[in-house]
């Protein structure tokens, strides 16, 4: 065991954790809206819209995240037309490409989580709202969405942790996130175990925090109080 290496690499890895957290929070933020949007499309009665939303979630859940990042980072740059548009400002940066890929990926999983949460809401609750004369828009925003969010908390907590692990793939498109820096230190010092313990410890700590925050929220918003 090389404890000196563990101590000297800790601040470097901690610095890289900032990028990991930035990637995670940005993609979760955009992904939540995207997921909500597609979950609502899934509940639409129009068959075409419904199939479109299903297709989106099927494709993004059925292919590896690595393929999705590579298509966006290496693939889209190939289209001449895109290079001349404003979009290119965003698409030439690996940082934004990673965030776009993560957002699309987590959006697909989130839409499934929210859809099943919407479907488990008892029709009686919606009927009660209707009979009180509440407009269907307000029923949706003030009754259905809060219940669906509470329902989907445990599954969404898992998704956050999966996404946190997913951000490690940003290192494959040259970003120096926690895994990227860990790989760099491993390949220069050839001490994989020491680096794994430190980097893995940081990841585990983040998992631990996310897990407990979700648990707290679940308790706070539980139905039986």
């Amino acid at each position: 065991m090389d404890f000196d290496l563990m101590i000297t690499s800790f601040p470097k890895l901690l610095g890289a954790t900032v990028i990991t957290l930035k990637l995670l929070s940005a993609s979760l933020f955009f992904g939540l809206f995207l997921g909500l949007f597609f979950a609502i499309l899934r509940l639409n009665k129009n068959k075409f819209i419904n199939k479109f939303a299903y297709g989106y979630s099927y494709v993004f859940r059925g292919t590896p995240l690595l393929v999705q990042i590579f298509i966006i980072y290496f693939g889209l740059g190939q289209i001449e037309y895109l290079r001349s548009t404003v979009l290119w400002v965003v698409l030439k940066e690996p940082y934004w490409c990673a965030i776009i890929a993560f957002t699309l990926n987590t959006g697909a999983y989130t839409s499934e989580i929210l859809r099943s949460a919407f479907q488990t809401i008892k029709p009686g609750i919606i009927e009660a709202g209707k009979s009180l004369g509440i407009s269907s828009k307000i029923i949706f925003y003030k009754i259905q969405i809060p219940i669906a969010i509470r329902q989907s908390l445990p599954a969404y907590g898992n998704e956050i942790i999966l996404m946190m692990k997913g951000t490690s793939l940003a290192s494959t498109v040259t970003l120096m996130d926690l895994t990227g820096v860990a790989k760099y230190i491993i390949s220069t010092t050839f001490k994989p175990i020491e680096v794994f313990i430190v980097a893995g410890g940081i990841y585990l700590f983040m998992t631990f925090v996310i897990h407990n925050v979700i648990k707290y929220l679940e308790k706070k918003y539980s139905f039986q109080q």
Binding site: Y58, V59, G62, T63, P64, L65, L66, V67, Q68, F70, I71, F74, G75, L76, G77, Q78, I79, I161, M164, K165, G166, T167, S168, L169, S171, T172, T179, A182, K183, I186, S187, F190, P192, I193, F196, A199, G200, Y203, L204, T207, F208
Partner: protein, 230 residues
């Protein structure tokens, strides 16, 4: 379409073999994972706290750390560890482990953690009376597990194992970083030499979708078979 021609002019045959490689690695990793689950599930269900701790440590660490980090650990540390063990037995030559084995073991360790959780959940949800009834009937311990617990457990475990299989299949794309020529690596090579990454990575996505679609169909058949009578 010329890009996908079989033979020397296109990448069709290369991608076909790469797909077979992905399937081979996934199946091997899944089996390695079952082996790990076979060891760690009893530990998690054990009465002894220390064994519980070992079981929980494995599943918590592996499920909380990115797959890529585990792969790097094995890729950079695997041959070192084997050489260390070999040196105890007096063998000091350089040992290189093949990329297939490294990849299958790395993904196997990850898939094993998920399988362990699935098996633990399935065993715990079997009614205690089933164990007691089997004991009362004087069925041997082996018979108890093999004829009574296992069939009931499989019915509960198969839907979740199908999720583990999907995760494992998609995780194999990460072994491309070690140089094993599976779908992802082959697409990377093809994209590099033809300068057409959009086409090849999209085609890789289609191949993965095809694999997940076919395996879903097959697993659904298994599910029907094991839920007979319910």
């Amino acid at each position: 379409m010329e890009l996908l021609a079989f033979g020397k002019t296109g990448w069709g045959d290369e991608l076909f073999y790469a797909t077979l490689m992905t399937v081979a690695v996934s199946v091997t990793a899944m089996l390695v994972g079952f082996l790990f689950a076979l060891i760690f599930t009893p530990l998690k269900l054990s009465k002894y706290k220390i064994l519980n701790f070992v079981g929980n440590f494995y599943t918590t660490v592996i499920r909380g750390v990115p797959e890529l980090l585990v792969i790097y650990l094995l890729f950079f540390g695997g041959s070192g560890a084997i050489m260390y063990v070999a040196s105890i037995f007096g063998y000091y030559e350089y040992i290189e482990i093949n990329a297939f084995i490294t990849g299958a073991v790395a993904i196997g360790i990850i898939s094993g953690a998920y399988s362990t959780e699935v098996f633990r959940g399935a065993i715990q949800s079997i009614d205690k009376g089933q164990f007691e009834a089997a004991k009362v009937l004087g069925i041997s311990r082996f018979g108890q597990f093999y004829k009574i617990i296992l069939p009931q457990m499989l019915r509960l475990a198969i839907p979740n194992l199908s999720n583990v299989w999907q995760i494992t299949l998609k995780d194999t794309s990460l072994i491309s970083v070690t140089g094993l020529v599976e779908i992802m690596r082959q697409s990377y090579i093809a994209a590099g030499s033809t300068r057409d990454p959009l086409f090849f990575y999209s085609f890789a996505a289609v191949l993965y979708l095809l694999l997940t679609y076919i395996s879903m169909k097959l697993i659904n058949k298994l599910e029907v078979k094991y839920s007979r009578g319910y």
